[in-house]
Subunit: 474 residues, 4 copies
């Protein structure tokens, strides 16, 4: 549902726990707090030490996991997943964790991110006789593990990981251990927590908080962490690492109560808003934010600019897969979908509308119009990120370069297209400083590829072509 | 689900439309925007001018109304209802609108409010041979209409309304007309809008906005408005009227984008927060609000006090009827339910926590503890309403006087019970002024009964007894 | 689903039990064995002596009663119902038992049969101010009970029953007793059984057998039997009684393993077939029956005639509400629905096809064609009942006289219409003798109205008019 | 559900169609008529010539295929499957057809039968790096096809088939062709039909009849038949063939209206009954059969012996996955499950009870007791097959030799165990002659392995061990 508003979607959140008698229930609450990362499907695989049992389906966490179903998968450890389905990749089969049984034991896999050499590897594996059951790039890892010559699962996994390029936070579970791995650039967030004697890993720290776990530390780029009945141990599967955490995690994806690499998301957003007030001082009557992700930035802007923050836009909640979309004719008659303007707040006012990003521009245009129809005399759009000019190959669904309005238009052109009275983007430097990471270097440990075009990994030709609208390479 | 947090629930929202070919779809979107007023059940009755067809069920609007089902109830007019089920009153039968077929035609009824003489009337009607199908007080009106000696439906309805005491916004529909009536004290909100040639009535103006309708005016206390193919006409069924709009609509129930009797709810709340900052200046590092209903007041407080507003508490969304409640044992281990503290924001800080009201005090205590466990050094609770010391008989589910903490304890006692460093309620005068209604008189057109004990209607003994914990009177 | 094949449907089966800790489960099995009497809806009301709890829905017994739901309605007594929905009378509301709560206690009602003066009574009750929730005639009894001046429930019920005309087997339950009543002509079957200390009543004895109960006796026409914690007691509410059991119970409706008024249904059918072989000796190669209801008669015919019985037609099972009906175009291409011919059995053969009755003739025609297309050289249709020339007003859905082929055509005309090589009906005398009831008199205790036009009760003008295709009288 | 009664279950029925615009709908009706071959799951894969779309689920055909879902899979060709789930092999994943997508195209597989070297092949394939998604032996074929060195799908399939041992009727579909293959011994039935220009294949001819198709011929052992837009063509993938059709297809599995290798099933069963009357003449009052599969044999016995056939046992229908099994305590109180005796028919009678086979003997014992409790004075059990003394490895679920009562006990011992007054099995010669196949040789083209222990294929050690109760071999 976010897709419609943003045209910007991350694929997935992951959660795992080892060593707790209520592993399945805790995974349920953990996944629930990660629901914002994917609403199309949810699943978990639970082990009691003997067998692996899976439970998954399309829909929200509360739809997929019924009370009865959860009781059926009791165990001491579990990994879980919430999924945002990219185009063409839907269906029950693609809901994760993937679960594989073989005569040597079982294997469950959950993945957040995107592999840039998945097609190349898949092509090679199929040529060698492998059959893929899903259209997800995640399955590639299973086949690489299966074909590895090593004996120990841990070695097979390390061996397989070295062949992957791209962004990944992987959770792997067998009957006797849970292993988590983060790509050598640390493109996706992954944190470790502790709840009594149990260890937890999760895409965001909010999932640790919600289940009452203590934060231990973040998984390092290139690190493989193994949890079993002996506890936790770690080794590096790659030493050629950098820190390149996806900046959009701060700006858009993560929950405001999460800390990503030590920085609280709400605070980062508020600082982005403050910085924006500094970079783009505007005379106006009210500041408003596009809910939910831009509220913190809007409050920051208002505070720094000394202009009252008001709730000028409201989001309609309770929207899920079963929500009936208004017909074109009803939309033309004015039936609203996800956002409504608050006439009582914006009527007759000069409005500063804070949003976190512009992807295709269609949503911004709709909101500006909405505010003007509700009586705003001026609408100044301020964006708490720099223009997104390059496609993401690491799990963010900005399909193709074609669709990125900022890749083809100047700021002034965009302003005209979205019909705003003024339009300001935050500078790249402003973003980096406002987020305030402690790391060294120009990017301060962030991936800025979508803004700057400097990708931390090599990029495969099939992805580049696809990003220009070409068909599949293989 | 709000019940758990507040112990304070309104029963229902209503929506009606006459004269639109997409009446059922529009009612769907209207009810969807009123979902916050009741999540236990939803229903609509649609007419094509010939017959009345009903569609209802337990659950959310998006659960009850499937795409296929909506197609089945095409018509030119519809009334709809979202329901919060009070204890003992659940079940399919009690979901509204109620629909009655007789050999003379059909009748549909939707009701927001509570009748104070329902039991007395029901007892009398049963003695005369009537059989009640539901346990809702709404059905009383149907029986009174049926037994009225008048011929015209409009006269039968007026005749019946004169026998009712209490709070009600009624929508009544037959094959040929839609009638809406508001009790003589105007205790419940009810607004009229226009969408092309169609008329709309709704509990809140947000439902008019969402479907693109223009606000026409509010229904008056004691007014009966009739909509049919000729248009809209009105008459008073009572001239002995006052204005006593439920104050909690501003403070807690309504959506921030609604205007209640001409006052925007978000603005009212922000003003309540500002007034609170004036009445209760506190030295602190951050201001935070309990989501969702107290955010506006918190921002108002922060603005007025010059203390930064921060997101110190976050609400877990996607919670519906199917959400699995954590077991006692998991709660004790720290699994959160609806609210989580944001450690990154409150740790090491003196926190002002703005909430809209205190009913039983259990939630406040839980939140204070949560914030302290997350590292807050001080937690100052400020409440944007006066203490609730008296039960409501008009549709707010504050069960019994017993459970109202402020009816038995002083402010200092409550402070100790909720373990806050300080506790401040807003004064009654402060509330009235901050809301800023234009009406004359001490209450400025609001019902303040739950704060002051001055009830605008007579109160029946069975309700008083029940409010003290006694059983049913009849 | 039988409707399509026969155009002849009974409305409902009833089951009740008093005094067993597993009352709900036993009712489930009892209703399941009565499923052939109604597949559109099922329900039960259970009491634990304190309250009445209902559980009902549209669909089959196994669809409506889930394992969880049954656990929710534990109690010591229950009444249940399976329903065949007549046109216009569908919907959740009309599924029985009906359950009424009042300030004096609760009342549940289940009904098999049809009242001939329901409309007249309903009209009168509505004029007096009653509101009907359902379109079923059953609700009339509830209102009559409610309006009765007597104090004891038992007296109120007797008082109400004296106002009813028509066919009824009623089960009535309150918190403290279960009462069953059979109309003064005994038009519907109702038997009493005993299971340990519990008493059971059921439409057919097969329901007693299935739950392991012993048969005690049949309920008498005009009898009211009361079951409570003291046991069973009986009184007559009418002494003006006759015996007029619906003949179609033997011929078509009941399960072959049931005994109706002491006569086993399979045996009666086999005797009908034997008698038919005697009345209509035909030279042929094989005898076949239309499943399921005509198999016994076909075997009887084959045995008496010395011609081999073969399975020339087969029924497609697993057909329920969710079965997708083949489109007209697929039917024309030969897609079968409920019956298939067995080519291997009928090809090149002269076939005697035994059926139990002809209502509209469309099914017979389809089957004759089917057999001929499968290679039968001759098809002789023999019917184990007399021609149905008159509508039923007692609960059998033979809509209107118009549709009864035998009311407008001679046997020879019907033969031509159904394209059979010969057609024989059983004589009325033959039917009566073959069924072999022990009672005295011409009809031997059976209602033969649909064959002879001699109705055991008075008939109201609105029903007569309706049976000629006229609209509702009131 | 048959499992409980018989302890004897076949796994699956298959249906395929090429070249019809309503391919999906026709497959629905075809599978529906094969429902008796498997009630645990159903699925179909449809192609429009461009892509393959699958639709499957656990439950009955009418539960899995909703009207909306069928509309979603329009196409010109389809293959479908109904499944009986063996122990440990349940779950959504194992429901067929299996559907595999690869970068070279898609492949769908449906299978009836059982491979005796599946484990050996699976072990080998896993060692080579293949990952199996299901626990079904069917998937082995997909991997063999994938790993074949040939280019043409047809050659890859032939290449793969030569590696399989056991019983199989395979349906394989790609975007451009449907291929069907029968094992070299013809252990499973598979027939070809024609409906206008479309070709159909089905496990039984009843599925051809139900959709209005004409029977063309049976698929030959070792034959590969290919259907595409050019029509039908055939080639042999093995010339080392025999005819060894499973005898239990005649005796128990198939629908009476099907012809298996040219012999009508009902007729075969009736002849088995007649032969039994000749081999085992018994003095008795009535003959009855265990429904549904033994009715034809019982009628044959009755006809030949001149003793009346009566319906002494009745089956409770409408039983599906959701049926609530009676608790042990209710069963002890006499609650019946699938069969009820008809007291009115058997009381005081000497009963000949015809059944088709005895597997574990527990059901026979229960039925004998049931009949005696219902008043039968003598119960003579006659079985229309020879004693089953050997396990089946070709798809019939007779678990292990341990459970076959006839492998450990003499006929007299069995008689005592089942508490019958006499017990007669048909002789092997009697079976062969009664079925009356035209083929030459001792077995007349039938597999008699479960009676004689002479298996038509080689048998792998892991299966032999499993049949003695040992665990998995690999």
């Amino acid at each position: 549902m976010l897709a419609e508003i943003k045209g910007l979607n991350e694929e997935c959140g992951v959660f795992g726990i080892w060593g707790h008698p209520s592993a399945a229930e805790i995974t349920y609450y953990g996944l629930h707090s990660l629901q914002h990362r994917g609403q199309e499907g949810a699943g978990m695989v639970v082990t009691d030490g003997e067998i692996l049992k899976g439970l998954k389906g399309e829909g929200l966490v509360t739809e997929v996991f019924t009370s009865d179903a959860i009781k059926d998968v009791k165990g001491k450890a579990a990994i879980g997943h919430v999924r945002y389905a990219t185009a063409g990749g839907g269906g029950y089969e693609n809901v994760q964790p993937l679960l594989f049984h073989s005569q040597n034991g079982s294997l469950a896999l959950a993945h957040n991110g995107n592999l840039v050499n998945a097609n190349a590897l898949k092509h090679q594996l199929e040529t060698q006789g492998s059959i893929f059951q899903t259209s997800s790039d995640t399955e590639v890892l299973a086949h690489l593990i299966k074909r590895s010559g090593f004996t120990l699962m841990q070695d097979r996994l390390k061996n397989a990981l070295t062949m992957l390029k791209g962004a990944y936070a992987f959770l792997v579970m067998t009957e006797t251990e849970m292993m988590v791995a983060l790509d050598p650039h640390g493109l996706r967030p992954l944190s470790i927590g502790k709840l009594a004697d149990a260890y937890i890993v999760a895409s965001e720290t909010c999932a640790l908080d919600i289940v009452g776990a203590e934060f231990v530390r973040d998984v390092l780029p290139g690190e493989l962490v193994i949890f079993d009945d002996e506890g936790m141990r770690s080794e590096m599967f790659s030493y050629n690492t950098t820190k390149a955490m996806c900046t959009m995690e701060y700006i858009y994806f993560s929950r405001p109560d999460s800390n990503i690499n030590g920085v609280n998301v709400h605070t980062a957003r508020k600082n982005l808003g403050k910085r924006l007030a500094f970079e783009a001082p505007i005379e106006a009557d009210v500041v408003t934010g596009v809910p939910d992700s831009s509220i913190s930035a809007a409050i920051g802007y208002a505070e720094a600019a000394g202009i009252p923050y008001e709730m000028g836009l409201i989001k309609n909640r309770y929207v899920g897969r079963t929500f009936i979309q208004p017909s074109q004719s009803l939309r033309e008659q004015g039936v609203k979908m996800k956002l409504s303007p608050v006439r009582g707040v914006v009527e007759g006012k000069r409005v500063i509308m804070v949003d976190d990003s512009i992807v295709r521009g269609t949503t911004s245009k709709r909101i500006v119009r909405m505010l003007k129809e509700a009586g705003a005399t001026e609408v100044h759009v301020v964006i708490s990120s720099a223009p997104i000019q390059n496609p993401c190959f690491y799990g963010i669904d900005t399909s193709s370069r074609e669709e990125l309005i900022a890749s083809k238009h100047s700021v002034e052109e965009i302003r005209q297209l979205i019909e705003a009275d003024s339009l300001t983007f935050l500078s790249v430097e402003g973003m980096v400083e406002a987020i305030g990471r402690q790391e060294e270097g120009e990017t301060r440990g962030s991936c800025l590829a979508c803004f700057t075009g400097k990708y931390p990994t090599e990029i495969y030709p099939d992805m580049l072509l696809a990003s220009c609208g070409a068909g599949p390479f293989f």
